[in-house]
């Protein structure tokens, strides 16, 4: 084979594919096929005028963003009862990290909420740093704040764009997506990747900001408010959008808390729970920003809270971008940080340190810790159990949308079939962190 193996065109050998998987085309008999020979003509069919109708929505419905399944019993267009099934993107995150080192977990966290991978990176590293008693330098804190807020804007853009496009307004999606591409260029210049960044390290950052990056941020930030204004102008007072989302999927603040909601979905119902305010980290208490809350707790509020949050994030970035101090980007602690390369080549101690960090990995003290971070979707928590070795004993992710998805059954029952799309979009369920 040539070394250019990137794209491989290969011929299908008949029978080979079928032999390996346990099923073939003929296995799926569970729907009634009138052309089949064994179809029983004397079969008693229920009376279609009175019998309830059962409909499967998903797992690959275009409006389900990722994959899950709603099984609904219909009375006309109204959903009488519904069952929700998830797990179609279950990738065994919690099992696979048990055989990895602590540092190797960072790329996996990227793929939890893939709309905002860097926030997940920070959430994991923050938990690890608290476990090891590390305080990251000021420069790192400010850079983390800036890119977390950039990611928050990008995540909300995808969420709001997607819910509006599901309801039928495609233009807004492109307005948001163009602005998102500009922000993505910034992060690409910084991290080298477009979606799964893996830029954080335990105790710091992978590398420093490239030259002129902060000026680029300032330039790009000027393009975001027009995009938000465009979308808001098209949507906020739009009759069709209001009819589809106002009063749809209403949940009270108390119910939302009982269901374990956090983040913008909860704030749309009233409670102003935002970890950046109640448990500030990385100096969030020193920034001037508001926590937007909704009044009705319907799908409309959930979209509008997100759009308002984008503007608050812009405020934070504007304040933080001028406050990035000079200094190191990683803690000076040989338990987590690799020694500089020239010292590895000249000093025996540094060489051993380098070797042990690479081979054995970071070793936090034994114990259990739960640390939570405000991600675009809500509270992302990492519950880490360490037995003192270089591999995590157990990492449990507390994904925000797992618990909002739990509520879907209760939100859609009694509503119309078309409301499912409007409700689901407002919840911003990201299958990667839902199923892990």
């Amino acid at each position: 084979m040539s070394d250019k193996k990137t794209i491989d065109i290969q011929q299908f050998v008949p029978g080979e594919g079928e032999a390996r998987a346990p099923y073939s085309s003929v296995d799926f008999d569970n729907d009634v096929d009138l052309t089949r020979d064994d179809f029983d003509e004397g079969l008693e069919l229920p009376d279609i005028n009175t019998a309830p109708m059962y409909v499967n929505i998903g797992p690959t419905h275009p409006a389900t963003h990722g994959t899950f399944r709603v099984y609904a019993q219909l009375e006309g267009e109204t959903i009488e009862k519904a069952g929700v099934d998830v797990g179609y993107l279950h990738r065994g995150f919690e099992k696979i990290v048990e055989i990895k080192q602590y540092g190797q977990v960072i790329p996996y966290t990227d793929r939890l909420n893939y709309c905002s991978g860097l926030v997940n990176n920070v959430a994991y590293c923050k938990a690890m740093e608290r476990m090891m008693g590390l305080e990251v330098p000021e420069r790192t804190k400010m850079i983390r704040v800036i890119i977390m807020e950039i990611q928050r804007i990008m995540d909300h853009m995808i969420c709001c764009g997607a819910v509006i496009v599901d309801i039928g307004a495609l233009t807004n999606f492109w307005y948001f997506f163009n602005a998102r591409e500009r922000l993505n260029d910034l992060l690409e210049a910084l991290t080298g990747a477009r979606l799964t960044y893996s830029y954080m390290r335990i105790g710091g950052l992978a590398w420093d900001l490239p030259a002129g990056w902060r000026e680029n941020v300032k330039a790009v930030l000027k393009e975001i408010p027009p995009a938000i204004a465009d979308v808001r102008g098209l949507v906020a007072k739009n009759r069709i959008f209001q009819d589809r989302t106002r009063g749809v999927g209403v949940i009270s603040g108390d119910d939302a808390i009982s269901f374990g909601w956090t983040g913008p979905c909860l704030r749309a119902s009233g409670p102003d729970l935002d970890l950046r305010k109640v448990r500030p980290y990385y100096g969030y208490e020193t920034f001037d920003f508001d926590v937007p809350v909704g009044a009705n707790g319907d799908s409309y509020d959930r979209v509008m809270v997100r759009i308002a949050e984008m503007e608050e994030s812009l405020k934070i970035i504007h304040q933080a971008i001028d406050r990035v101090p000079d200094g190191p980007i990683s803690v000076d602690d040989k338990r987590v940080t690799l020694p500089p390369k020239h010292r590895v080549h000249t000093s025996m101690e540094a060489l051993i340190n380098h070797f042990k960090l690479v081979i054995e990995g970071v070793k936090p003290p034994a114990g259990r810790i739960y640390d939570a971070t405000e991600t675009p979707n809500g509270e992302l928590g990492f519950y880490i159990i360490s037995d003192g070795s270089g591999h995590p004993y157990r990492i449990k992710v507390r994904p925000p949308c797992f618990y909002t998805m739990n509520t879907l059954k209760f939100l859609i029952e009694g509503g119309m079939v078309a409301d499912i799309v409007a409700i689901l979009g407002g919840l911003n369920v990201v299958a990667g962190e839902l199923d892990r």
């Binding site: 808390i257 448990r279 797992f402």
Partner: protein, 176 residues
């Protein structure tokens, strides 16, 4: 976390110890977190007490743990309820050891609605039997899956093929 909760945690732990006596096995205060380890007999009472008397109105997570190789081994499994109080901004964990041969745990679905899926996940990953749960079915893995994948004795590469569509009548008829 910038705020120090040590004093509030101390008071809470003292109160729970006084209230439940021998039901409290241990207290874990590592890294500034607070975890109360209680027996299975009192776990539901402790959770109800925390919810009603101390306004722990948000059940963040239900975590199953396989303690097979842990130094702090009490029983083979543990369930950890992760609570948060929105009005008081306080976190506490309630952990209950569960032996391998008798994995009944009282459900918390009557206290918090979020316990529904949290307990279903803990059931499918470890095999806990949450007594009183309205619909204890597999959630993330498919319905033909055998075994509990997050147990330490389950092989990492133990994939199992699925060949049919699951029946969701039980979820459909689950009471609201």
């Amino acid at each position: 976390m910038s705020k120090d909760n040590t004093a509030r945690h101390d008071a809470l732990v003292a109160e729970i110890k006084q209230q439940f006596g021998a039901g409290v096995l241990d207290v874990d205060r590592s890294f500034g977190d607070c975890a109360v380890i209680v027996t299975r007999d009192v776990v539901h009472d402790v959770l109800a007490y925390l919810k009603h008397q101390h306004r722990f109105n948000l059940l963040m997570d239900v975590v199953g743990i396989d303690c097979m190789n842990l130094p702090s081994y009490r029983e083979r499994f543990e369930v950890s309820y992760n609570l948060y109080s929105v009005p008081d901004d306080l976190r506490v964990r309630v952990e209950v050891p569960v032996p391998e041969l008798d994995m009944d745990v009282p459900t918390a679905t009557d206290l918090w609605k979020s316990a529904n899926w949290g307990e279903r996940e803990a059931f499918e990953m470890f095999g806990f039997n949450f007594v009183g749960h309205p619909c204890l079915k597999r959630l993330l893995t498919h319905h033909e899956f055998k075994g509990h994948p997050l147990r330490k004795d389950y092989p990492v590469m133990g994939g199992q093929w699925c060949s049919s569509t699951s029946d969701m009548t039980e979820e459909l008829n689950e009471p609201r």
